[in-house]
Amino acid sequence: MRRAITALVATVVGLVLLLSFKTGSAKSSNRPVALSGATAGNDTGNDGADDSNSTSTPSPAPSSTGPTSSPNATAKAAGTQTITGSSVRVSEGFRTFGSVQVQVTLTNGKITKLVAVDYPNNDPQSSEISQYSIPVLTQEVLAAQGTKIDIVSGATYTSDAYAQSVQAALDKAKS
């Protein structure tokens, strides 16, 4: 059970990789940032006895905030759980912005909500980092999570803009 949660948090850390941060310099804003320690989540193959060397080990125990059992799902992760991961250092190139901490809500084992509960704001050189950006999810990352995009909702495109859209690519894939 604990290992399953660790694996999920590792997925979440993978997502957080995509977080881009507003920085003091306009040039570097909205650039993806690298997350040091992100690979530490790959400990699902370990026997789980020692999670202490993993920087993405969930620190507090999962807290249950909803129904904890359901008649059809007797096994793990039924109901709603909220898990807070430990802080992970965030850096871009050689700059270190600080740490980020993610809280994930699981409903019947699936991620239903992801909230950054801490974000980089403690680096005096990047004091303008006070809010994080909405991450960019690419089709590749979503596919890796097992999510296939069927349709795209976005600001209304013109006929011309459609040709360049992701929706157009999805339409081409169908008969």
């Binding site: 909500k113 992801l114 950054a116 909405i134 960019v136 690419t138 600001a155 209304t156 006929s159 992701v166």
Partner: protein, 264 residues
């Protein structure tokens, strides 16, 4: 052996945008060799959308809505759909505390509601014709029915307004609607009716709900509200919202059903 699921598509340029049809059907039961019943249903829905365009387009001087706006024709002489749409506009105007308006620049212009309403109607036409599993995307506004494959919902990618090739969230829906208003494609075209100025605080606002008529109009009205849309959407039953602000930050209402998102 379980039937294989086949996906049929159709793309129609209409109403100044592109409408994509995505039909899911079991090879064995729903689709015969030439897919005729489904193709006929799509053709009827497409014909409906072109009729809506002819009646409601504000880009056509001879449309009923243009002539009504110039006072050349009475409401009673118009297609009954015109009265229905104007009545819906009045309802949505009240529901949005006046942020939804059926005029634009002083002209009668219910465009902010017509697209969602017409796509929802097109979806109802497909369902009535027995096309039980389908999804229609009207230039970014989505109405979905059923499931694309047994056991999973339609996954609607919410386009990231600042990174158009990527997504800001993924919304899984069966029988529901997802509408997004934003400045990414057509610029700051939504006006705050109280100031008359373009709404620029939010880069996009996505509204999820049961029916696309209101989801679309609410997304437009909420974009005009800016960050105040968050509290307003929280106060509604059955509609949730997700916003990406022009500075790249964002928020979601407490029950927004995204599978992958970050909220403040």
């Amino acid at each position: 052996m379980p039937p294989t699921t086949r996906r049929l598509g159709h793309v129609e340029h209409v109403m100044g945008t592109v409408v994509s049809f995505d039909i899911s059907a079991d090879d064995s039961a729903d689709v015969n060799a030439d897919q005729r019943p489904i193709r006929i249903a799509i053709a009827r829905a497409v014909s409906w959308l072109h009729r809506v365009d002819a009646v409601f387009s504000t880009y056509r001087d001879d449309s009923q809505i243009s002539r009504l706006g110039r006072g050349e024709v009475s409401l009673a002489a118009c297609d009954p759909d015109v009265a229905e749409v104007l009545d819906l506009c009045a309802q949505v105007g009240r529901e949005t505390n006046g942020y939804f308006s059926s005029t634009y620049g002083g002209r009668l212009d219910p465009t902010g509601l017509v697209k969602g309403w017409s796509i929802q109607r097109a979806s109802e036409l497909l369902a009535a014709a027995g096309v039980a599993r389908h999804c229609i995307n009207g230039g970014g506004d989505v109405q979905a029915v059923g499931q694309p494959e047994p056991g999973r919902p339609w996954n609607v990618g919410v386009s990231h307004p600042l990174h158009p090739s990527g997504f800001a969230a993924v919304v899984p829906i069966e029988d529901g609607a997802v509408a997004t208003s934003g400045t990414a494609e057509r610029g700051a075209h939504v006006l705050d009716p109280f100031t008359g100025r373009p709404a620029t605080t939010l880069a996009s606002l996505t509204v999820v709900g049961r029916d696309l008529t209101r989801a679309d109009a609410y997304a437009t009205a909420g974009l005009a509200m800016g960050h105040a849309a968050r509290g307003w959407l929280e106060s509604l039953d059955g509609y949730e919202g997700f916003a990406v602000a022009a500075d790249g930050t964002g928020w979601a209402t407490s029950r927004f059903p995204a599978t992958a998102t970050v909220s403040a």
